[in-house]
């Protein structure tokens, strides 16, 4: 432990400074009253371009991304680089979609994607399905942030097995829970500044300093190619092969479509001040993708530096690389960057999940007419429950299980695309068709994931998202992203179901929105005291 003492001290100091900022955030940008979801859960919908950039960036590019993407390249090579095209194509896709969601949410004071579905399709059932999908997809994502912190703690030698050695992790999350409870979305927004500055600093140093020590980029790519050539696995290599290109492309596209369906991304977008802020951010956020591409290549640097993961946990390769390459004090800074990097998204995700519960379950089924303060109160408590759940997940269940669930999360959140994203453009679908599509897509997606084995981790089921087309009877070795096929099933069923319900003249729900609501901007009139159940 003593050899890591400098790292531990630097890490702890930075961590405490940031925690102090989290508590201070309640007073930042002085809200008159924090006791409403608008203020606690969306920061008063007042964030400008800079804060939004840091907030959404800190939200989407999580600590888990920083350890898991390089770990993918470390293990499988080129296939892991899908994260780069994924984060390139997502911004132009959402450029036109999210501004419409912002506008309609502004007019109707909506807080969650399920709120929108409720107003648009007049169906509490469909809204409930969207809300539950969001909560279930987000929970393991929060747990994964802990996996990121854990990888760092393991490298510093302060984490092991047993309950007592998990104490640092528990303390970190208790602090996080306390200031999120107090400050709401303002806490991660303020902390995101520090997190991103630290991450940029660490990565800039890493991509200059480490290759110089390893003998340059040609050497690094050469070592990686040699490693993959020596392994018996057919799917790895520094380039794609004939069988995983379709998977690469569909995974990138599917993930891009899923990204902004996640409740925590919606929370980040709705917290911005106006449409312009969002549009500007869609062209500025790719700066993070550049960072991500460079971070991904840390996986190859780890190969070149002959890094061995701790035990079987490949997520430790990046912390191990930092530990071996950097002087102790700077490794401490790097570890703090990853640790704090986990706090920002974990806070936003827990707020988003809590808002879904409050708005679409509590308000719909328990207390139909809550005051603003009651809503905020329920959300605050729920955010605590969500975080406790995430900690229990990590402590008592194999972390691999969270990773599996996160995989499922991406597939299932895609199933809300027809209601949320397509719903922003057209009201053509019948609510019954959308519900049927959701059920079919969800079933198909989970069934496919269940049938993906991973020989490397000896998992018979849920071993990855690459579904072999051969399982459908096709004579090929090609694989495809399971979420993509599931979405296709969803859309076809929704389409047929809509035609069927129309033909049978089954009553559809009322649409509470008007066309001009989708283009409204800051300063346009809002519908005050919106009654979600009636809308008219």
């Amino acid at each position: 432990m003593s050899e890591h003492l400098t790292e531990i001290i630097v890490f702890t100091v930075l961590f405490l400074v940031v925690s102090g900022m989290g508590f201070f955030a309640a007073r930042w940008r002085r809200p008159t009253d924090l006791a409403s979801l608008n203020e606690w859960g969306l920061g008063g919908r007042s964030f400008g371009a800079w804060i939004t950039w840091f907030l959404i960036g800190g939200d989407l590019y999580t600590a888990y991304t920083f350890v898991a993407v390089p770990a993918l390249l470390f293990g499988a090579g080129a296939a892991g680089f899908f994260a780069v095209p994924y984060t390139v194509i997502t911004y132009p896709i959402v450029f036109l979609i999210m501004i419409r969601l912002w506008s309609v949410s502004h007019v109707h004071s909506l807080v969650t994607p399920a709120d929108f579905v409720r107003v648009r399709f007049g169906s509490p059932t469909l809204a409930l399905l969207v809300a539950i999908t969001g909560i279930v997809a987000t929970m393991p994502y929060i747990a994964l942030q802990l996996v990121g912190i854990e990888a760092v703690l393991k490298t510093m030698g302060v984490s092991g097995s047993g309950l007592l050695t998990d104490l640092p992790l528990i303390i970190a999350f208790v602090i996080l829970a306390a200031y999120t409870y107090q400050s709401g979305l303002r806490a991660p927004a303020l902390i995101a500044f520090v997190k991103d500055i630290l991450i940029y600093l660490v990565i800039l140093v890493a991509i200059i300093y480490i290759p110089a020590r390893l003998g340059g980029w040609s050497q690094i790519f050469g070592d990686a190619t040699a490693k993959f050539a020596a392994t018996p696995a057919p799917g790895d290599g520094t380039l794609l092969n004939a069988n995983n290109q379709l998977q690469y492309v569909t995974l990138a596209l599917g993930s891009a479509l899923a990204l902004f369906l996640y409740p925590h991304s919606v929370t980040g977008v709705l917290a911005s001040r106006n449409r312009d802020v969002i549009k500007r951010n869609m062209s500025a956020l790719p700066a993070y993708s550049l960072l991500l591409a460079l971070i991904a290549l840390l996986g190859y640097m780890a190969i070149s530096a002959k890094i061995k993961p701790i035990g079987t946990d490949v997520n430790t390769v990046v912390p191990q690389l930092f530990d071996q390459m950097f002087p102790d004090w700077f490794a401490g800074v790097a570890f703090a960057a990853v640790g704090i990097g986990a706090l920002v998204p974990a806070a936003i995700m827990s707020i988003a999940a809590a808002n879904l519960f409050t708005r679409n379950i509590y308000r719909e089924y328990i207390n139909r007419d809550p005051t603003d303060a009651q809503e905020a109160g329920v959300s605050k408590v729920t955010s605590l429950v969500v975080k406790i759940g995430a900690v229990l997940f990590i402590l008592f269940i194999d972390p691999q299980f969270s990773i599996d669930l996160q995989l499922i999360g991406g597939v299932i959140i895609l199933q809300t695309l027809p209601s949320v994203a397509i719903g922003l453009f057209t009201r053509w679908f019948h609510k019954g068709g959308l519900i049927a599509g959701w059920v079919a897509g969800m079933g198909a997606g989970i069934l496919m994931l269940y049938n993906v084995a991973n020989p490397a981790t000896k998992h018979e089921h849920f071993g990855g998202s690459a579904f072999a087309l051969a399982k459908l009877g096709l004579d090929t070795k090609m694989t495809i992203y399971a979420g993509f096929l599931a979405l296709a099933v969803n859309l076809i069923v929704a389409l047929l179901g809509t035609l069927l319900f129309r033909a049978l003249k089954v009553a559809d729900g009322p649409d509470g929105t008007a066309p001009e609501h989708y283009t409204a901007d800051e300063g346009d009139p809002r519908i005050k005291d919106l009654n979600l159940s009636g809308s008219t």
Binding site: A78, F81, V84, P85, T87, V88, I89, Y91, P92, I93, F95, L96, I99, R100, G216, W217, S218, Q219, I220, F221, T238, L239, L240, Q245, Y248, V249, A252, L253, R275, D276, K279, R280, M282, S283, A284, P286, A287, S289, L290, A293, L297, F425, T426, P515, Y518, T519, D521
Partner: protein
């Protein structure tokens, strides 16, 4: 999208470029030519980030004025 006038603009079609091009693996799934030691696969995909920034910025600038009411 018949219900929406003010978001419509021919410039929006430009956004198809950074969506479609990164999905064409036949463009970049090669080792050569290398740039600064990076295989084509890596440096070209990093270059696509720049393509994305340029097109979204352009579309943002060209559609901004139309939104002023």
């Amino acid at each position: 999208m018949p219900d929406d006038k003010s978001d419509r603009s021919p410039w929006n079609w430009l956004l198809l470029l950074p969506i479609a091009i990164p999905l064409m693996t036949f463009l970049y799934n090669f080792d050569e030519p290398r740039l600064l030691g990076f295989p084509l696969f890596y440096w070209l995909q990093i270059a696509f980030i720049v393509l994305g920034v340029v097109t979204t910025t352009l579309v943002y600038q060209m559609t901004k004025r139309r939104r002023q009411r």
